[in-house]
Amino acid sequence: MTETYTIEGGPVELHRSSFDVADFPLPTGREEDWRFTPLDRLRGLLEDQPSGAELSWTTDLPEGVTLTSVGAEDALLRTVPKVFDRVGALALQNSTGAVVVKVAANAELDRPVVLKLHGSGADVVWGHIVLDVGANSRAQIVIEHSGTTRYAGVLSVLVADGAKLTLVGVQGWDRDAVHAQHVNVRLGKDATIASTQVTLGGDLVRFVENVEYTGTGGDAEMAGLYIADAGQHQEHRLFVDHSAPKCRSNVVYKGALQGEGAHTVWVGDVMIRATAEGTDTYEMNRNLVLTDGTRADSVPNLEIETGEILGAGHASTTGRFDDEQLFYLQARGIPEEEARRLVVRGFFAELIHRIGIPDLQERLLTAIEAELGGEPEAAIGAVNQ
């Protein structure tokens, strides 16, 4: 058996967004946005069943940041972006409220906000977190996931005018966890987000990340990296909706696959609407295949409705780290293990280095190396301690 990969590309199929579960019937698996996902392994996250189970939280909140729980009727929750699929709608409905992390306007945080979410049960967990980042503030927010759970979450990220947010998500789940996540970013005028999602653990991880702009000058750097081991399914679907003029987006996702049945999916949809003159966008997905028996699907879609843009492009490559590369590096004196590390570390280092949180970067690089050395859970579990 060898590895398979597909690279497709075409027009953007616009998905309905809504708050209402009734708008999203149970998928059959043939739908465009579900066709890659093994539905049975979502293990209940498509079923409308209330649950009081929660993840346990450890937080570090610097000055200028507050964390509160609000009820379902809270006015803020009427203003968050809609979700794009059934799991997202179920998470909003069944989480009955949200945890709101608020960064005060004009605040410049002296250290990152850290939210560590740990799962330790088999129950379904529904969750909604709102990051309410005030105008002209500067903040770094890190959300780390560990343990085991069946978790459907919505992260609503509201970046107000002139604010700059660095967002990092770490999926360091145990091997049997299931995680379906919406990340809905709304950028105000001249607002910036630099987001990095790092997906290492879990049995099934499915991210749906959306970016919308409400004014000119919005800037979204959406990065991610994933390493899928034998049997793991890791899926990242991005939708950048350029409706405002003079905004920018850059999507870069890189993944490595190793082991029988490792499956990754990356879908990048970028829509440039007629109103979005002066848009500058690029999206890229690169996959590094380390062993036979893996499958990488990569689908970049770009649709442009105005001729008045600065730039738009996409690229997708999937390549093997093969015996010839190993031979070449070894023929230069580099021992086998080091040769492998060199290639994979080099592949991911660029994404890690631009996070801008040095101690987290170090931990992530260590976790990535351990993951590649074949000790996945131990490694990333440690990241979360």
Binding site: Y328, L329, Q330, A331, L342
Partner: protein, 252 residues
């Protein structure tokens, strides 16, 4: 003074029809400071010889020996052979995405020397060697061989030879695919290493063209998996005039 000694080397590859013998008893002795040209038609087994010496896993040594300074190379892993002083400039250098040339060179140098090179000298050495090979400094930040033209790949191979300072270098068709200007630049690079070190060179080629720029001490005609004739540089002139026919027809 060191010696690279190849004795009665037999090598086969795995094919769908079972193992196929490609090298049929190769004998060669190369001393430090010498340049030996191996000339042979396509398919005669030249690359097989190069890869077998370097330890490519595709080739099975069925009998014979290869020693470097008396040490058994065939017992060593690929990286051990390189650290013992062997260098192979490949006919088709491999692309390595995600690893920059500068990182690759530094890692290789550290592995070969057993310690990291002094930063100050190293940066200067790399820059100097790249200048000499007329490589744009921006190559240092590009991924190894990724998107390089054929000529750029060959320069990059010789760049490594200059920086890693091997005891013995096997250059597998380093001339193929080069235009005259690039051939000159690459040959000058090889000649610089020959002047500045005691390197022994096994120059594998199909054409006599490169021998105008890199003067061999010995020429070996390679046909059907073994050395069919040996001589001095004058043998290359005969090949230039008459081609390989004399030996290929004799071998049928």
């Amino acid at each position: 003074m060191a010696t690279l000694e190849i004795r009665d080397l037999h090598v086969s590859v795995e094919t769908e029809q079972g193992p196929k013998e490609i090298l049929r008893g190769v004998d060669l002795t190369i001393a430090s400071g010498q340049t030996h040209a191996i000339m042979g038609p396509n398919g005669s087994g030249k690359s097989t010889l190069a890869y077998s010496i370097a330890g490519h896993p595709k080739y099975t040594i069925t009998s014979g020996t290869v020693t470097l300074d008396g040490e058994d190379l065939l017992e060593m892993s690929v990286d051990e052979r390189a650290r013992a002083g062997l260098f192979l400039a490949m006919q088709y250098p491999v692309e390595v995405a995600g690893v920059t040339v500068s990182n690759f060179l530094r890692t290789a140098k550290t592995a070969i020397d057993g310690k990291a090179p002094s930063l100050r000298h190293w940066v200067k050495d790399v820059k100097g060697a790249m200048d000499n090979l007329k490589m744009d400094p921006e190559f240092a930040e590009r991924d190894v061989n990724l998107g390089f033209s054929g000529g750029e790949k060959k320069r990059h191979e010789i760049l490594q030879m200059e920086l890693l300072k091997p005891k013995f270098a096997v250059l597998d068709e380093t001339d193929s695919g080069l235009d005259v200007d690039a051939l000159k630049v690459v040959s000058e690079g090889v000649n610089r290493v020959r002047e500045n070190s005691e390197v022994g060179v096994l120059l594998i080629t199909h054409y006599t063209r490169i021998l105008r720029y890199i003067k061999p001490d010995f020429v070996h005609v390679f046909v059907d998996g073994k050395v069919a004739a040996e001589g001095g540089p004058e043998l290359a002139d005969e090949l230039e005039a008459n081609g390989y026919d004399r030996w290929t027809s004799a071998s049928v």
